[in-house]
Symmetry: C2
DNA sequence: CGGACTTTGTTTGACGACTGACCAAAGGAG
DNA sequence: CTCCTTTGGTCAGTCGTCAAACAAAGTCCG
């Protein structure tokens, strides 16, 4: 029931039909691999002859490859899977501490990795990214595009980084310069959006099947990535997902980027947790969030208490999101997911306490299924998802 | 960049291409009416011959009709417009005070209207709706489907009304019984979602062009309808849009349905405004919101103050929504829109005060462009939008 | 007033994509 | 070894669009 956007709508030609079916077949190979032509034909209700033609096209384009299958009583099928050979995408995850790079194949399997400490200077960081990326591209031939994930405000369509709070970089031209230096197309997005994209395309099956969910990425700040109908929602000028700046109360332990003590971010980010820890333990001034999590997991009471309190406030904000958006799932990502066993109870309790307004079925709340690299996988997903995305018609 | 849902994806056949182009042409007729075949051909880049074939099909189906045009220097065009003759949809708006019914033509112009006071008994109300609807359907032949808008929680796909707070009706089977009684298909949705749909399809051009917006419907309660990418978002099991139950502070003037004094609804609904008015004016115990608005527009200070305060809290909640969703516009609907000149200043001020966290471009905030019947237009839109909606392919 | 020009709408053959029926290939079961 | 099952490919038929030519119905200007 979508309203057609006449300004952007493109009419269907005779090859549109092939484009649509090509993407459907490709997605069957991706999701049900290894699968035979006959099985695809059976499930899609396309004729076997048609599937064969489409498969030939996908093989020619180097997207899929054949392997031998075992007979089930008749002629043995030739099974299809995504082409495994060689890297196809390069991902750059610009973090507040480290910048990580990786190449991966079509199926999203990592092939090569690299990383360096992010430099406080914007230009120097770009130079280092270009250098490191260049090395990985020449080493692994076949990279077709680059995806970049950054912890800040981005206009994805224009490839424009507006602001990165941690380093106070404004109008950072990383996308333009990467493109110039490598000659490859560059896609860029906010880290929470990228992480949401990664869960959508490469998360564990129980998340991949979910088409409406919210990614809550806890880092120094607090970002949210919204997925509606299997699609990351960017809002007007790509700035959606700043639920981190939602007002949820007063007297937070730290201030948000704008000096506000009422934002969700000021209550539930890593910085908030570290501030609570510093107050509780009273000794470590220069405590990092990593060490805090290690300490808590090691049984230290102050660390545990700081994390649990942070988890509770995460729950308060999540309950607001659930009420408003009724997603099927909420995914919590970032390093805090390592301590999920410690915080989940209090977090879920807070969500339920604030949800009592309506006796509704609540969303599943789960830690990221992508381990410790949701942002890096997100950067790679920016490239890979475009290969598999649905054809946009009207 | 949408992920294909293999469980629901349907493959493209040779007639899919026609379906897609048919909807595009139909939407050109709807939005640029009156328009000639040649103009459609020019804008869509379809051949004139193809447009002609599609137009023939649409004419045969009684969706469009021809009128004569004036020459611009060559052969005069035959202009096309939506068929104006006769009603095509019946809308039922179940309100907490009145239930309104109307029929309209394809272009959304009202043809016939009726209304009655909503009865406190669920069954009796259904009976009365069926009686009134039956009369309007037999009077105006041609009605193809019925749309119903209700002030409560709905599962639109299953046609199930879960709960209507005002009357405490649970599992109301209005859709099923209307369908049985009339033999027509019935579509049902929450009033805020319906109103959002109405703005999307029948709002003034400045809203119709917006593809991401939020409808805030102020009534006894407070509902929100979310439109993403030109599509009403329902969330998991159709329950999205309950931002009214978002926690925004403490000590609201009234309680929400669940006895909570922290919800946005408890601060900014009609009930909240009436409670403020009763407190300020101290005399009228049985004040209604309608009279409150009349009094305020008439210059009464207590009424004005009650509305302005309510507007301020509307702004607080709207600022949270803007931060999280970055919509292009926020539309405020309900009777309070009548007093827009009184409340807009304070409302916008509150939004700005709470938005300072990020110096971002803010959404436009405007009153409903559908006058006093956004819900009724919403009910009609439930039917009409399905005629014009984009073809869902993959 | 009449011919040239302009614009609109229709007709017709060619092309691309899918369907469906038939055929060839390759293995299992008896 | 023969029959059956399953997979994959071939080819005429149909549907929808494109492109170009054609017919229709005006305006413009000498």
């Amino acid at each position: 029931m979508r309203r057609i956007n006449l300004k952007k709508a493109s009419v269907a030609r005779s090859d549109t039909i092939r484009h649509i079916n090509r993407q459907i077949v490709l997605n069957y190979v991706r999701e049900r691999s290894p699968i035979s032509r006959a099985a695809i034909s059976h499930e899609t209700e396309l004729q076997r002859s048609t599937v064969s033609l489409i498969v030939d096209e996908l093989k020619d384009q180097g997207l899929i490859e054949e392997i031998e299958g075992e007979s089930t009583g008749g002629r043995p099928p030739t099974l299809l899977r995504l082409r495994a050979a060689g890297p196809i995408a390069l991902g750059v995850d610009v973090g507040t501490k480290q910048t990580m790079l990786a190449t991966c194949d079509l199926a999203g399997r990592l092939i090569d990795r690299g990383s360096f400490k992010t430099l406080p200077d914007a230009d120097a960081t770009v130079e280092k990214i270009i250098e490191c990326a260049g090395r990985m591209i020449t080493k692994g031939r076949g990279v077709e595009a680059i995806g970049v994930s950054v912890p800040g405000l981005v206009e994805p369509e224009r490839g424009n980084v507006i602001f990165i709070p941690h380093y106070r970089w404004r109008d950072w031209d990383v996308a333009k310069r990467l493109k110039q230096a490598t000659g490859l197309p560059v896609r860029i997005d906010n880290d929470a959006n990228a992480a949401a994209l990664a869960e959508l395309w490469f998360g564990r099956p129980e998340i991949r099947e979910v088409r409406d969910f919210v990614m809550v990425l806890v880092e120094e700040g607090l970002g949210t990535g919204l997925v509606f109908d299997g699609q990351v929602y960017h809002g007007d000028s790509g700035a959606a997902g700043e639920f981190g700046h939602m007002t949820i109360g007063e007297g937070a332990p730290v201030t948000c980027a704008a000096g506000n003590r009422e934002c969700w971010e000021a209550f539930a980010s890593e910085r908030a947790a570290v501030a609570r820890y510093a107050k509780l333990s009273r000794r470590e001034e220069g405590a990092t969030f990593s060490r805090l999590v290690d300490a808590a997991l090691g049984g230290e009471e102050a660390g545990r208490a700081a994390l649990v309190e942070t988890g509770r406030y995460l729950g308060v904000g999540i309950s607001n999101i659930i009420k408003g958006l009724s997603p099927e799932a909420v995914i919590v990502g970032g390093e805090i997911a390592r301590a999920w066993s410690l915080i989940s109870h209090e977090l879920v309790k807070a969500v339920e306490a604030y949800s009592l307004c309506r006796g509704m079925k609540s969303a599943r709340i789960i830690p990221s299924t992508l381990g410790e690299t949701p942002r890096l996988m997100g950067a790679l997903s920016l490239v890979l998802s475009s290969k598999f995305a649905a054809v946009t018609t009207a």
